[in-house]
């Protein structure tokens, strides 16, 4: 545990990711890191947010973070739970979701995500779980936020496999495919926040987390990284944000141990 006022890079990532969400958002919560950020937002500045998990739960308000996207807690606290075909057909394809929150194993400079394989598809070095809901979350939600820790292994020059389409090869790529949604608009890491350039759609660093240098971020990225002309510092976590996040993690750890 850190001292009061101090925080870990992981906490900064979750908090910065949570801040991207608004109380009026209807958010499709991807598996993994996004779940903590989305629930932190709900428990702090965005109490009205509607969280949707692909297991069919709409408007869920879990007291602890689920281990899977289908824990009973999600259903018990939801406004309603629909079948999985209904979730993907009516709610996602139907255009009802304002934000999709995703993570991945690899991301490239145009925010294309890989969660399928490392290496070749037929003879992979590492077989990852696959796309799940992500390919259509990435195309059907009005915009996409991505959160993942930054390293040269995850922020790569070229992804092995495009599981979820971001901005393809750059400016105009989404429009060329007939996509009318905005795609990834924000990538929140443990070191910084990146946003796509208006024209080229290449990810550019918009803010550095407190204490992080440009060199640190450059060394954690697999392509020559660009920084915004208006580079700023991410505001420090507030005491309230840290307290709510730590309590959420503590409740979660206790719940998952006791229900073994």
């Amino acid at each position: 545990m850190t001292n009061p006022g101090e925080f870990t890079a992981g906490e900064m990532m979750t908090i910065a990711a949570a801040r991207a969400l608004k109380s009026s958002d209807v958010c499709f919560v991807g598996i993994g890191a996004p779940s903590a950020a989305c629930n932190l937002a709900r428990l702090t500045h965005a109490p009205g947010i509607t969280l949707i998990y692909e297991s069919g739960t709409i408007g869920t308000r879990p007291a602890v973070l689920p281990l899977s996207i289908g824990d009973g807690e999600l259903c018990e606290t939801a406004l309603t739970t629909v079948s999985v075909p209904e979730m993907f057909r009516y709610w996602l394809q139907g255009g009802r979701i304002t934000v999709g929150f995703l993570a991945g194993a690899q991301i490239d400079r145009h925010a294309n995500l890989n969660t399928t394989v490392i290496g070749s598809y037929d003879h992979p070095k590492v077989r990852l779980p696959g796309g799940g809901g992500a390919p259509e979350i990435a195309s059907s939600c009005a915009e996409i936020f991505i959160t993942m820790a930054m390293s040269p292994r995850t922020f790569v020059d070229r992804v092995s496999f495009v599981t979820s389409f971001g901005h393809g090869s750059g400016g105009g790529a989404r429009q060329a495919l007939g996509l009318t949604t905005r795609g990834p608009t924000k990538v929140i890491t443990d070191l910084c926040v990146l946003e796509p350039d208006v024209d080229t759609r290449e990810l550019v660093v918009r803010s550095l987390h407190p204490g992080v240098t440009q060199d640190t971020v450059r060394a954690a990225c697999g392509w020559p990284l660009r920084f915004s002309q208006h580079l700023s510092e991410t505001p420090r976590p507030t005491n309230l944000e840290l307290q709510v996040l730590r309590e959420l993690h503590a409740r979660t750890a206790a719940a998952h141990e006791s229900h073994g």
Binding site: E54, G70, G130, G168, G260
Partner: protein, 287 residues
């Protein structure tokens, strides 16, 4: 007309070597007991279908029951990889496993098309991604009204779908509620359906939440197997054993520990072991 019978009899009568089999359940109500019976009966060359193959499919793949997997997300939720699935794909152990990989949206639509008795599903998806390059079953159609290009995948029509549900009444009507996943579609898309249930009751109590009712005449065999979804869960009966999902990471990592676990917990046990699991989860949960 459905009939109550033992799990041994239901699997022996309805699941054959080489069948296309869907054991469905989206985190909730996963039919583990039925999958273990398939392992005990030594079925081979199954074409397994499931949106979210997790521990149960890891076990079926690890014992060599399958030679093909149709899926959209294969992992241990919140924990990491499925080591037996990875060993089969990366090293061909215990036998090579052909993959037909989709997205969730595609599979959900494909099950629904199967239930609708349609040959294929149409939806808006797969734009710009690599899966269509490696899966020839992902194609496209042009909308005859607007000219829009839409994704198309074949309907899923299992030889047999197997699910777990909360309860059945005396007449064999089945109720499931909570996170209901794609089970209704998977049952109605299949030639035959097996349902394991927590309990048999005189009448289905007032359905809560978002109950799905499957009439008895849509089901081939019903088996009362309390705890049959462990280590997943049955809403209203027992919680998900998250600690077992975490423990599976170590059990399944090496072939030897995996096979020892299968011997002790599947081959040397029967469906009644699941009642013990259910009791243990509920005891740990008691105030």
């Amino acid at each position: 007309m459905s009939s109550f019978c033992s799990l041994q009899e239901a699997i022996a009568r309805n699941v054959n070597d080489g069948d296309t089999v869907a054991l469905e359940g989206f985190t909730h109500l996963i039919p583990f007991a039925a999958g273990h019976e398939i392992i005990r009966q030594g079925r081979k060359r199954l074409r397994l279908v499931r949106m979210t193959p997790d521990l149960l499919y890891d076990q079926l793949i690890g014992v060599g029951a399958a030679d093909r997997l149709v899926f959209s997300w294969g992992g241990n939720p919140g924990v990491g990889s499925l080591h037996r699935l990875r060993d089969a794909v990366e090293n061909g152990w215990p036998n090579p496993l052909a993959l037909e990989e989709h997205s969730h949206a595609a599979m959900a639509n494909a099950y629904e098309a199967g239930a609708c008795n349609l040959p294929f599903a149409v939806f808006r998806g797969y734009q710009g991604v690599d899966l269509p390059r490696v899966n020839p079953n992902i194609r496209s159609v042009e909308c005859p009204f607007t000219g829009e290009t839409l994704a198309a995948v074949p309907a899923i029509r299992p030889d047999v779908t197997i699910i777990h549900a909360q309860r059945a009444d005396a007449a064999g009507n089945v109720l499931l509620e909570g996170i209901v996943g794609v089970q209704k579609q998977a049952v109605l898309a299949a030639k035959r359906a097996i349902v394991t249930v927590e309990e048999r009751v005189d009448e289905l109590r007032a359905p809560g939440l978002n109950a799905v009712i499957l009439p008895s005449w849509t089901i081939s065999a019903i088996c009362v197997v309390p705890g049959g979804a462990y280590p997943s869960y049955a809403q209203g009966y027992y919680r998900r054993a998250n600690a077992f999902y975490i423990a599976w990471d170590n059990i399944s990592r090496e072939r030897e520990t995996f096979l020892a676990w299968i011997r002790a917990n599947v081959l040397d046990k029967g469906p009644e072991a699941f009642l013990t699991h259910r009791s243990a989860v509920n005891r740990a949960d008691a105030p």
